[in-house]
Structures are given as C-alpha cells and as structure tokens.
C-alpha cells in the first residue's frame, strides 16, 4: 500500500465500520423474520391435518374450512372492487390529470393507507352494515377491504405507468394510435407486472386484516349464503379468538389458522415474483 497514509486508513476503517453496522442490522431483520416463521411453523404445522382443513369450525371445535373459504371470498370481493378502481385511478393520474391534480390524488391515496383499520371498520359498520343495511356480510367486509386495497394497487400501478418512457407513448402515437388504444395496447401490457405486484401486495395485506372485519364481516360457523346479511368467517378471527380461549384445541386451531395464512401469503408473493421474472 504505497499511497496509504493516516487519512486514508481512517476512511477505510470508517468504511469497514459502516459495513459491519449494515450487516448487523440486516442480520437482525432476517433473524426476526425467521423467528416469526419458526414460531408459526413450529406451533402450526403439528396442528394441521386434512380434517382441520376440510371441516367447518367455530374457533373452539371443528376445523378451518369455513374460515379459509371466507378469507378467500372476502379478499376476492375486495380485489374485484379494488382492482378496476385502482387501475382506472392509476391510468387517470398518470395519463390524464395535470400534475397538480395528480399529486393531490396521490396524497389522497397515501392518506387512505394511513387510516387505522379499526377506524375504517367502525366507519364500515355505520355506513355499510347499518345505514346501507347490508348487515355483517361478504359485501360489507369486501367493500371495507377494497377501500384499504385501492391505494396499494393505485400507487404501484401508477408508478409502473409513470416509469414507461415518453418515447414509447410517442411511438404508438406516431403509428396512428388514439390515446385509449395507446393506453390499452402499449402501456397496460407493459405495466401489467406492476399491477400484479400491487394486487398481490394488497391481497396479502387484506387477507391478514382483522379489525375492520370484526365490524363488517362478523363470524359464521358455516359458509355465507349470500352477498349481504349473511355473516362470514375468516382466518384472522380464528387466530384472535383461539388465543383467548382456555383450551388446548383452540390454541391448536389458532396456530393452524396462522400457519395457513402465512402459507397463503408466501405462495402469493412467490407467484408474483415468478410473474415478474417471466416478463
């Protein structure tokens, strides 16, 4: 090290120090995530069997079938509402609105993600369950989930639309495309993976929500019989209730429900990674 002197050595030491701190923090993060996984898998895996997965239950006895299907149905309804709204919103912000209106709408979407879920739930109870007379139901729960899903889908779709270079839009116009054809055939085909990533994120967050569903979905020992005025069971309710019950079987059900949720969310995330890579 011919050119090495005091100042250089000091900088190199500082550099190594920063690297060590970074490594420590990242390791800590990985440790936390791994211990959550191990905790859920360790306690949940032993409680999982075909019978639990295929029979209905009431959080103290029976299985999880009604809760699994209920979670799918609720997030399904949520996605059915939030995907078109989020996507149209993203297209509007990125392609139609001027920059001031665009920033206002983005701020609005960001505020929406900041509303505490319990507040959203209470609002849903008053507006949808009581005022609109939907009762505790699939539609009430689905709408409330959609309200929290929209900003994720909108923001991520909007970012992937805005990242498409101006050149690409001009190339479509230069071939004689109208604006809507340009958006449909060029932009959306390119932003597809961003839309999918946003939707997966929204679905995985929504399927893990509890507070707003307590107020809007209720609980059902079987499957709901319609979109409105028929309560729905869901997995996070089983976790929340089961832990509070003084019986070993309730605890087993709660951990099994947590395990199923974790597997579902992991599967979704892996699927979205696969789709992203496929582009």
């Amino acid at each position: 090290m011919k050119y090495e002197n005091g100042a250089v050595r000091k900088r190199m030491a500082f550099d190594r120090g920063m690297e060590a701190i970074g490594f420590f923090i990242v390791s800590l993060l990985i440790l936390v995530v791994l211990s959550i996984f191990l905790f859920v898998i360790g306690n949940g895996l032993s409680g999982i069997n075909i019978k639990i997965l295929t029979t209905d239950g009431n959080t103290t006895s029976g299985g999880l079938f009604n809760a699994i299907i209920g979670t799918w149905l609720l997030t399904g309804v949520g996605l059915t509402i939030s995907l078109p709204v989020g996507l149209f919103g993203a297209v509007y912000i990125s392609e139609y609105s001027n920059s001031r209106a665009g920033s206002f709408l983005k701020l609005f979407a960001d505020l929406l993600t900041g509303i505490p879920s319990i507040v959203l739930g209470f609002f849903g109870y008053l507006m949808i369950v009581v005022y609109l007379r939907f009762g505790f139901s699939l539609l009430a729960g689905g709408i409330i989930l959609a309200i929290m899903m929209i900003p994720y889908i909108l923001r991520i779709s909007e970012i992937s639309l805005s990242n498409i270079p101006k050149d690409i839009r001009e190339a479509a116009y230069a071939l004689g495309a109208d604006k809507y054809k340009m958006i449909l055939r060029v932009l959306l085909s390119k932003a597809k993976s961003g839309v999918i990533v946003g939707s997966v994120l929204a679905v995985s967050i929504a399927s893990g929500e509890t507070a707003q569903l307590l107020y809007t979905a209720g609980w059902n020992n079987g499957l709901p019989t319609g979109l409105t005025n028929s309560e729905v069971g869901y997995l996070t309710y089983v976790v929340w209730q089961g832990i509070n019950q003084p019986s070993a079987y309730s605890h087993q059900l709660a951990f099994a429900a947590a395990f199923v949720l974790l597997v579902m969310i992991l599967a979704l995330i892996l699927m979205s990674k696969y789709v992203q890579r496929g582009k």
């Binding site: 690409i168 190339a171 230069a174 004689g176």
Partner: protein, 249 residues
Amino acid sequence: MDEVIKTRGLSVSARNNVILDSLDLDIYRNKVNTILGPSGSGKSTLIRTINRLTDLNGDFEISGTVYFNDHNIQDMSAVELRRKIGMVFQSPNPFWMSIYDNVAFGPRLHGSLPRLKLDEIVKRSLTEAGLYQEVERDLARSAMKLSGGQQQRMCIARALAVEPEVIMLDEPTSSLDPISKSKIEDLMSTLKEKYTVILVTHDISQAARVSDFVNFLYKGKVLEKGESKEMFENPRNEITEKFITGRAD
C-alpha cells in the same frame, strides 16, 4: 421537382422561446432529405410539428403552414397524418412484446386483418428494414432481446408496416455501434426507392454520405438548403461552412 411536404412561414415557440423561425422548406419525393444542424437547432421540433406530435404537448404555439401533398396538415386528422408520415426515434423504442406483435402493431390499429395478410405485412416490412433474415425464426421472441441495432431496424419495420409515404428518422443511429450505423445508412438508399425519407442528424459525415438534399438548420432558421453535393462542396453561408468543416462553436 415533386414536393411531398412544404413548410411555409412555419414558426414554433414554446413558453415564449422561439424554436423555429419562419421556415420555408421542401421535402422531395423519393429522396433522402436531411435536416442537418447542431444540437438545439430545432430539428426534432421540426419533424414533430410535421407529424403533429407537438399536439400532445400544450406548450407549443405554431404559426405558418405545413402542407402534405398540398393539403394543410391542420385540416387532416392527426391519426391519418401520422399513418402517412411514419417516424423512427433517436433511441430504439420497441414495445414490450414479440417482434411480430411490434411490427403488426400499426396494421392492427387500423382494422382487423386476416392472419395471412398480417404475416405478409410483417415479412415485407422486416425485409424492407433489412432485418427479416436475422429474425425469421424468432418472430415470436420478445423484441427486447434484440441488439440495439436490430431493435432500431425493427422500429423502422414497425413504421413501414402501416405503408407510410414518408418516413422520418430522428437521429436514428446516434445510440448505435458503427456496424449497426452503417447498416441503417445503407438502408436509406434502398428505402428511398419506395418512400420519401427525412433524416434528422447532427452527424456531418453521415449527412454527406446519404443525403440527396440538405436543409441546414441553425438556431431555428434554415441558413442554407440545396442539393447535398453542392452544399458540402460549395457552402454559400459562412456558418454552414464553419459547421461542415467542424469549426462551428
């Protein structure tokens, strides 16, 4: 001589900056018409005014007239105009889809065609752009997988697929390696047999190699125009002379 495009008193400004200052220029049929000039001289704005891409940006104020086959372009529909006057951009900008779908994009916009007809158009366009032999077996592959030079020739094919009368190339080789560059330069002399070519470039030697006619654009004004040979051997304007001999500021 047969003019396809004429500009008369064409001025363009954006936010009170004059970009083009009363241009009178003529684009001749089946020739390579070059717009030569240093960066910032208004070359790109000029061709974007000709195919009305300037419409997309509310900032431009345009006065004077552009005639395409003796019709005022403002009286034509922008879609129709852009179909007749194709454009290739500075850096290759393939759409996120297969080579086939990229080239078929334009024809599909303007009506549904039977698959066989579409196959024929894709093959003809890629052949005219000198790319067909290289990609014949890979038409279903993503266009993003092509090299930069191939992507640019594919973009030329995409523009040719809608059967334009004029094709405008906006510094088409500025992001390409020398071999790809010379392939595209060679292409221009074959393209002009069927199409009218407008080449925008700041590359003097390229302009000298491929042009039939040159319009020298400097700070928004046409300082000199005429046959390529004449201008490069005998520039009349002092600034033109400085620029083409490499002594411009």
